[in-house]
Amino acid sequence: MSLKDWFAKRKKKQLNVALVESKISGDDLSKLWDKCYNCNTQLPKKDLEKNMFVCPKCDYHFRIGAKTRIFQLFDEGSFQEIDCNIYPSNPLEFVDTMCYKKRQDEARTKSKLNEAVITGIGKINNWEVAAAVMDFAYMGGSMGSVVGEKVTRLIEDGIKRRIPIIAITSSGGARMQESCLSLMQMAKTSCAIARANEEGVLYITVLTEPTFGGVTASFGTLGDIIIAEQGARIGFAGRRVIEQTIRQKLPADFQTAEYLLKYGQVDMVSKRKDLKEMLERLIRIHSGALKQGANK
């Protein structure tokens, strides 16, 4: 490689890092939907939607919300939401630069969701599953009391029905505005998964863009099988925190799904278009172990 090439490559690499950073900052993506973050191709929104919000040119996977995910993954009309009547409160009367209550209102307006997770019972190619689907648009998908409670109830429900449980994560971590109450949701959800383990109920997690902190360190990575969606950023500590601690720049592919696969942290990386079929296969193969789970 000539020095000139090396510099060109290096510059390109740095550019990639910058792109990824802006993607994580949680800006309103809706305005920019038409332009691919990775290859800069102008894409008609309709084409993008038809392609499951994956760039047809470069295969870049856009971050998607819970409702889109449910639409893509579950058999048409099969998803029945549960526990949609649980709302956050403000137990610590937390105020940072804005009152927590006001943040909730803004998040609800912006995301058109009551909280950062939707839970329910749905069908994947006719296999009944209990599913929790997170949405980054509601306060960065952070886990507070509501997320913890809904996920726990879902797991308990899945155990009772003896159907596979699937968690699809997208979260910046624990919700700071609920402080230790948020931290305890990590314990609560993990205790529920312990029961699923003991009852032999299959639990699969799908880690999507982005999954960090308290969700990574609890129900996100407790799957009997862990799937990471292609290109997703997944980790415990945030990139910036690590950079500040070790005082060096991190490689561009650090904490990507592919990076985690390389280091043995996930079972597989899946493209969005292959996810439904993969889930079906996993459920089918395990169905013998689920006493009444096989309904097909």
Partner: protein, 320 residues
């Protein structure tokens, strides 16, 4: 009061005590009887101290919790046990020094004792990585949990950590997964688990050893989802707001007891554990023994149910 490095808000106390010392010296040198004056001053100083220490702000408590002379896990081990055999390593290539554990005897009671270790000197801090465990540390702890479960030893975890270490290798070997697995596996243990937060109990790094039947805090310890500095830099975009963040996060033992997150507060001597190690250690030991006595009446299944029900209740939300 022993001479220790005074914290900023303690300086007035040290000034008063210097004055008392001066008067004593003066009295000795000149032979003038100042006993009454000295006695009054000592009483006033005591009142002042009690007043000061019972009204500490969260960020002042934070300074006590992080005090360089505060006893560490190993200090408590030497004070509360009559026998201690450290068990090293995760059996997979690493012996993380930020989490230590082993079997021990506390007043005739065999236990598994696990804790996070901070150093008092630079050399120690490098060895213990400032009390910030790697994934391998959590995996060592898990090995010891399972050992204790097999041999019916109550488990005591003593926590003082600024959090799990954020680094490249930690991410490669699965910091998040190591903690998650511990949370889940602790829930399955049939032997009693008792946690005491000794100093800092920060985020998942602390919780990774704390899915316990009983959780206690030393009076000036803190337990929080994120360090006040981290919280300030994210929510206020300025680490200078750490004082306000410490206030908002409700990190003190009183707050957490009120929120139902911990089961009790272990009293510290006036001014904090570093003023009287033995007294703190003794209070800690009594609480541990009392809890073991209470929990050892439960069957393995009851221990699991007790833990499940405890964490199941946590969280505040509205249902309508």
């Amino acid at each position: 009061m022993k001479i220790l490095t005074p914290l900023e808000f303690e300086k007035s106390i040290y000034q008063i005590e210097d004055k008392i010392e001066e008067l004593k010296n003066l009295s000795e040198e000149t032979g003038i009887d100042l006993d009454n004056q000295i006695k009054t001053l000592v009483e006033q100083a005591q009142d002042y101290k009690e007043q000061l220490y019972s009204n500490l702000s969260p960020s002042q408590k934070l300074q006590i919790a992080r005090h360089s002379k505060r006893p560490t896990f190993l200090d408590y081990v030497s004070m509360i046990t009559t026998d201690w055999v450290e068990m090293h390593g995760d059996r997979a290539g690493t012996d993380d020094r930020a989490i230590m554990g082993g079997i021990a005897i506390i007043e005739n009671q065999p236990v598994m004792l696990i804790g996070t270790q901070k150093g008092k000197t630079t050399k120690e801090n490098l060895e213990y990585n400032f009390g910030m465990p790697q994934p391998e540390g959590y995996r060592k702890a898990l090995r010891l949990f399972n050992h204790a479960n097999r041999f019916n030893l109550p488990i005591i975890t003593l926590i003082d950590t600024p959090g799990a270490y954020p680094g490249i290798k930690a991410e490669q070997t699965g910091q998040g997964i190591a903690i998650a697995v511990n949370l889940c596996e602790m829930a399955k243990l049939e032997t009693p688990l008792i946690t005491v937060i000794l100093g800092e109990g920060c985020s998942g790094g602390a919780l990774g050893l704390a899915v316990a039947n009983r959780v206690y805090m030393l009076e000036h310890a803190l337990y929080t989802v994120i360090s006040p500095e981290g919280c300030a830099s994210i929510l206020w975009r300025s680490a200078d707001m750490a004082c306000i963040a410490a206030e908002s996060l409700k990190i003190t033992s009183d707050d957490l007891l009120r929120l139902g997150i911990i089961d009790g507060v272990i009293k510290e001597p006036l001014g904090g554990a570093h003023y009287d190690w033995e007294m703190t250690a003794n209070n800690l030991k009594q609480q541990i023994l009392e809890s073991i006595k209470e929990l050892s009446k439960m069957s393995g299944n009851e221990i699991k149910t007790d833990k499940y029900d405890k964490f199941r209740k946590m969280g505040v939300f509205v249902e309508r």
